[in-house]
Symmetry: C2
């Protein structure tokens, strides 16, 4: 069982890394198997297709990201507004690490797949869409806590969280295009101004 | 000469449409030639590679977009702040037209290429980066005019324009992922809050 889990996990980890460094279309099943040291027959034992692997990878990536967000970033012993700035610190750190490792800021793994695949694969599009929706939930909670504490005005927390996710994705794309994590550092704090008031959204 | 120009233009138009509807990697030279009704030898007469075609297409797309922006959107007889909202109207209209035509919101043609290719092709990355920088210029002008008229506070026009481009790109990616142009309509006007004050950027 351990070996089976290892093989499956190696395929997921390898695909995640290759897709993130390059693109979905540029990386085939054959290369994923070669890099993971797994036979092609084994791949199809675990995943009927590259798309199925990708959906499993998205499920796993979202859980990892959410756990990091809830356990390390949105920690409850700092004021809610500061937690949002910590999310930007994490974004900056992830871009900086990618650049140090590969020479390239690689953007957001979810946004990359959405941008490349949304017109071509409804299953992948719907899965990334759900990630973005799920990411809005903890942001909404933080915004509502900040508004209740008087640190932010009364706001439309749903629309504000949605606008903030859009801005985070835009910043990741800009950092990738400029190959410069500092874009997140310079422009990130402006996210706190993106407050949609009730009736505006 | 006319026929030569027509052939080259057909290749550019076909590539633009196919890349936008799908992705860069998913569309090969052979398909571009077939769809354009052009022989492969002719392609290589005009463009040494798919990348060269893409850079020429980006040059042309930027000029078309800039002309539309300056002549139809940022018209000087409406107040500067309203011009920025008109840019969002244009974004909404382009997404709606793409969806009506193909069933899919296709995002931003520049952002799509940046997201897919920035880690893999420095020439394409640098070209799209320049498009984003060039797009900041007319936005800066509008912001400075609005600040001079007292319609916006004194601001860091460079950083604000950069933040606004990031938000526009994030909105396009969200509209594409949700396959819903209304995201731009709902969340677009919040762009006017993304003002970076002097010393903040």
């Amino acid at each position: 069982m351990t070996q089976v889990r290892d093989t499956k996990q190696r395929l997921l980890d390898t695909a995640r890394e290759l897709f993130y460094a390059r693109s979905y279309e540029d990386v085939g099943v054959q290369e994923i198997c070669r890099e993971a040291g797994v036979k092609k027959g084994s791949f199809y034992h675990f995943f009927p297709s590259k798309r199925d692997l990708t959906v499993a990878m998205l499920d796993e990536s979202w859980i990892q990201f959410r756990d990091m967000l809830l356990n390390d970033v949105f920690v409850r012993d700092i004021p809610p507004v500061q937690r949002i700035l910590r999310l930007l610190d994490m974004q900056y750190r992830l871009h900086s690490e990618a650049k140090a490792k590969t020479g390239h800021v690689s953007g957001c793994p979810f946004g990359n797949l959405a941008g490349e695949m949304s017109t071509r694969d409804e299953v992948i599009r719907e899965r990334v869409k759900r990630v973005f929706r799920d990411l809005e939930v903890p942001i909404r909670d933080v915004l509502e806590e900040a508004a209740a504490a008087g640190d932010l005005p009364e706001l439309d927390s749903r629309a504000t969280a949605c606008a903030m996710v859009a801005y985070l994705e835009g910043l990741s794309l800009m950092a990738k295009t400029h190959n410069d994590p500092d874009i997140v550092k310079q422009l990130g704090p402006a996210i706190l101004k993106l407050i949609v008031l009730p009736g505006e959204g």
